[in-house]
Chain length 120, copies 6
């Protein structure tokens, strides 16, 4: 059985490929910018991921939150750091953010869960 993380990534990748295959130049370039904006510059990658996470959280976009949670996790950010970023997002964005916080917390647990052996 697939977990949330895998499901999210599969759907995301499948649809991104279709959308990019369609050759709308504006969309292609926005996707491209999205990759570039989160590479190291004056700010390091970890900080940028937290910025992306907080932006996604106050704008209350679950899929965007999941995406930045996963990249934050892969970059080695700790749960404490991520939760602190999310607490700022909840304060700035209001209690309306709390349902997204619940789903974010659940997704982070799945990211930290030991991976089952391959061969599903």
């Amino acid at each position: 059985m697939k977990n949330q993380v895998e499901e999210f990534n599969e759907y995301r990748q499948k649809m991104n490929e279709k959308i990019l295959g369609d050759n709308n130049k504006i969309i292609k370039r926005i996707f491209n910018l999205d990759t570039n904006a989160f590479t190291a510059g004056a700010l390091d990658v970890k900080t940028k991921e937290l910025l992306g996470l907080v932006a996604s959280t106050v704008l209350r976009c679950d899929d965007c939150i999941k995406y930045h949670l996963e990249t934050s996790y892969k970059e080695g950010l700790s749960k404490e750091e991520v939760m602190e970023a999310l607490s700022i997002a909840t304060l700035v964005g209001g209690t309306i953010v709390i349902p997204h916080l619940r789903r974010a917390y659940e997704f982070w647990e799945e990211l930290e869960a030991p991976q089952p052996p391959k061969g599903e």
Copy 2:
């Protein structure tokens, strides 16, 4: 089989406990404020619940709507009162609110539905 109301409450409670168990002070205090803000003061509890419902509706947060529908229901607000509050939310927030109105209506129906005997 669980209905929507039970499912919503179980997930909400389970995740809230995990989040609060994590001991992030800012988040704990926001949760705490959320409880205090809806107790009687210059305004009574019913009015405050309707304010919470309308705020949730124009901000288009389904889970927040469900939460305030349930507390409104428990406080004895009538369907007419709740629908009138939701009609103001739809006017102020625009037709973009309508899909949330449909889900709110469905949730209210479940709140009003006779409870099956325990022992699911």
Copy 3:
């Protein structure tokens, strides 16, 4: 010298007349609905004004806040009641609401200020 309340009302009225004079049916009917929605029904006028105020505040629309502050004031709502409604809006909508709270507070002060004798 005109105060904020007069300025707001004059501009609002002048532009509303122009817009309605233009005879766009959809806009005319939305304006019309706006008047009807805040008349007494299952909920009384005071409660509805507070609902309109909170909706305007979490959506962070200064002019809408001013409008509902003035109608709330005229309906006899007290400063404590209005501030309690605004505190719920700030909690649900987040600290991002605070700058609007400052302007709302200032506008309410002008509503309560003794009117200078006519003849400006």
Copy 4:
């Protein structure tokens, strides 16, 4: 098995009937306005549908997007036209719109998919 388009339409129709049956005048009139606003006037129906689609997309309302995708499809708008409208929405609304773009793309594919013979 029902596809996404059918499911969406059935739920939408069922709940709309319930809501309208409830006789809240403000809501009834908003629903009514919604029908009128998208009929031909100074702008033709196709243009209006694209306006509704872009408004729904930047406000990130999946159900509203689906609704306008279906009406756009029925009005004979091409995939290229729809995608171009969605690319403007993504640029104006930001990358936060991308998850909605993925779901919109998938829904459009179902609209274009050959219909199975009736008799499910």
Copy 5:
């Protein structure tokens, strides 16, 4: 004396030059995309300007509205067409859009006002 249109354009141009002079690649490319997205493609320029106008209006960004009102005006869109687009934005976005509609109407009037002879 400068009118609103001139003031808006001068500030906009002055600040855009500073921002672009600063050489942040992501921002430069977003500005660039913004120019490309509104050129003719599957949809003509007029339609795209209306899409940009409606997106700006439901997201309640006065400066973005002004920008698209001016380009709409220059492209030869009529007041009726523009008002019809704005009426859809007001319906979809709710009465919260009305204050922006008032300012949009005023700006359009200035766009249509006869230009004073140069030499201010």
Copy 6:
């Protein structure tokens, strides 16, 4: 003559004092939380200020942006770091953010401008 920074701070401080003097407990505690949330924890103060700045920018709150620009400036963040954070906000939040970017840029320039000798 006062510059933008001074004007902003004076109005902010004056109104905050009035609001806090009013003794609404919920509002007092939200203000209090706002101070606590940005102190050093798992994340350092600079990172938190950038998170506050990005949250304010994507939610398009000019006063909140100004506040975090000033604290970022005082914490010693460089223009390049701040602009990089703002570029992420513009990408995630869309071109609708650009007018706020222009005003943010202007405010930052005033923060960096040499202070005139006291004695206004």
